[in-house]
Amino acid sequence: MARYRALALALAASAVLALPARAQVLQRLTVRQLTLAADTTTPHTERRFHLIVTARVSERVSRLENIDLPLLASLELLGDQVTTTRNAQGTTYREVITVVAHHAGTTMIAPVTLDAVDARDGKAKRYFSNSLTLNVQGPGVLATAGPELGALARGIFDVLAWLVGGVALLAVVIALLRRPRRPAPPAPEPLPPAPLPPRARTRADALRDAALTLRADPTRASALHVRNAVRRMVGASDAETLEDVLRAIPDDEPMHGLLRALERAAFTHEADLASAVRAAIDRLEAMSA
């Protein structure tokens, strides 16, 4: 479980903080669709459900780069599966993220973003999906009941589900038989590109999320993930050390201080860890204010 939590934080932090980097190369795409959905908007705590990201572009590409997932700080990531299919209409990207919520309440998931050069006008754009609001319910009857009662309730539920399903199917068949035949409607016009939202996510937004991540999980592992995410945000590669990164951004003193604080939080000894993480959170909050 801890491994998944760490993975979730890593993905979340890296996703949120992955703002355009120094040497980012954007794909040239005609984005037709970018959506974020869930297989339920009222999930129960401790029951897994799925978030589904779908993107459609007119070009045939082997992969879609620069898709950034939102911060899933209130959910635990259990798995992630990406499929990319190509056909005559272009490319469809589908990512299914298996998650579980541990706390009841309303959770808002920020939009997924896709950075690309718009093939129609040649301009770099950031496309946003819809956001998603989840109303996480407490544990359901089946989850809280004893095993025998749970089995009985599940049996009743299955019978009712079959009955309701059967009635619905019958209603659909009757409706189809009674429906007068009409000429096929014209093919729908292709969707216009997703409108750009009024404000793109800023560095301050990303740093605020990073502060929340670190505050929620003030461990060394979390500090290391946030450190790596901030380094990616300023365009550092995996091979670069702190000194390399600082040299690349000579005039950004606040960022120097933040990177140093995160370096300390990631590598200091146990006795100093709590203080180092606090110092890093203070820096993150000061820069996101």
Partner: protein, 308 residues
């Protein structure tokens, strides 16, 4: 006195123009209790740097000029017969000092090099029936001249491995050379007063030894050393030994300590890795014939390993 190592570095800078890397590497050797091999053409202040460090520490300094006719007893000492006492007396050699400069170590034959290197490793010398412990701190700084290879005896790989660090001493920049001219053309080098004591060194070593090395940084060090055995096979006959792993860890702790930290960061490892790896990797002739160069290849090896 409770001096800080930076004070020692600053004091050395009053005598040594430039060569900050050399001075820092000497300090790292001192903190990590390891010996230092300096390679560079004549006239680049190698001897002066060693002498200045000894003076700044108030320790005893001895210089041994290695020549083809040098004998082991010329280094470690010997027993001579005292006519008055009618008994053998032990005369300790120049190795009994805190800082020993072994100048042009590759000019002496293997048996003399071995005598020195055994003393370096065991920090004690046996003369006749008696074993004598060497003073603490005990630091050997050996120099090699890469230009005159005629009449030299190359150090065996196993003996090179005994040196904690190897420093390539380079030529000064134009500005530094101008400063050398202005500083020393009109007067001799001023004798340096001691700014730290041998007790300070012992204390610094204890503090540097306690510097925290996080598990991810340890893994990074292991990965770096392992990469010397796995990458760049066209240019490397054999990679670094586990002694290199220990050396990098100790040097990185020293580097962090000099930086005023009690924990090591990947930058420390990256900075000291060339010092510990340069002489422990078996580079083959293609490094020269292909015009790659040892320093560039080392940089490439190190840069290829992702930092934690």
């Amino acid at each position: 006195m409770n001096a800080h190592p930076q004070r020692l570095i600053d004091a050395m800078a009053t005598t040594i123009v430039g060569q900050r890397d050399v001075v820092e590497a000497l300090m790292l050797g001192l903190l990590a209790n390891g010996h230092v091999l300096l390679e560079g053409p004549p006239g680049l202040a190698k001897t002066l740097a060693c002498r200045t460090l000894a003076a700044a520490l108030g320790g005893e300094f001895k210089r041994i000029q290695f020549t083809p006719d040098l004998l082991p007893s010329d280094i470690v000492g010997t027993r001579i017969f005292d006519q008055h006492e009618r008994a053998f007396a032990t005369v300790l050699g120049p190795i009994f000092a805190n800082i020993v400069l072994a100048d042009e170590i590759n000019r002496a034959p293997a048996k003399v090099q071995s005598a020195l290197l055994e003393a370096m490793q065991e920090r004690q010398v046996t003369i006749g029936p008696q074993t004598h412990r060497l003073p603490l701190p005990f630091l050997v700084m050996a120099t090699m001249n890469p230009l005159d290879s005629e009449g030299t005896y190359a150090l065996p790989v196993a003996q090179m491995d005994r040196f904690l660090v190897k420093i390539d001493v380079g030529y000064p920049t134009r500005d530094e050379e101008l400063e050398i001219l202005e500083r020393f053309a009109v007067r001799d080098t001023l004798p340096l007063e001691a700014v730290a004591t041998l007790d300070d060194v012992a204390r610094w070593r204890a503090q540097a030894h306690d510097v925290h090395l996080e598990s991810k940084v340890k893994a990074y060090i292991v990965e770096l050393v392992a990469s010397t055995r796995e990458r760049e096979r066209a240019y490397i006959d054999y990679g670094a030994s586990p002694r290199a792993t220990l050396a990098i860890a100790n040097l990185a702790r020293g580097k962090a300590f000099l930086g005023g930290r009690d924990y090591v960061v990947p930058d420390d490892v990256r900075a000291v890795a060339p010092l510990a790896l340069r002489h422990r990797i078996g580079f083959n002739y293609r490094v020269t014939t292909d015009g790659v160069g040892v320093a560039a290849l080392l940089d490439r090896l190190i840069a290829a390993v992702p930092t934690p």
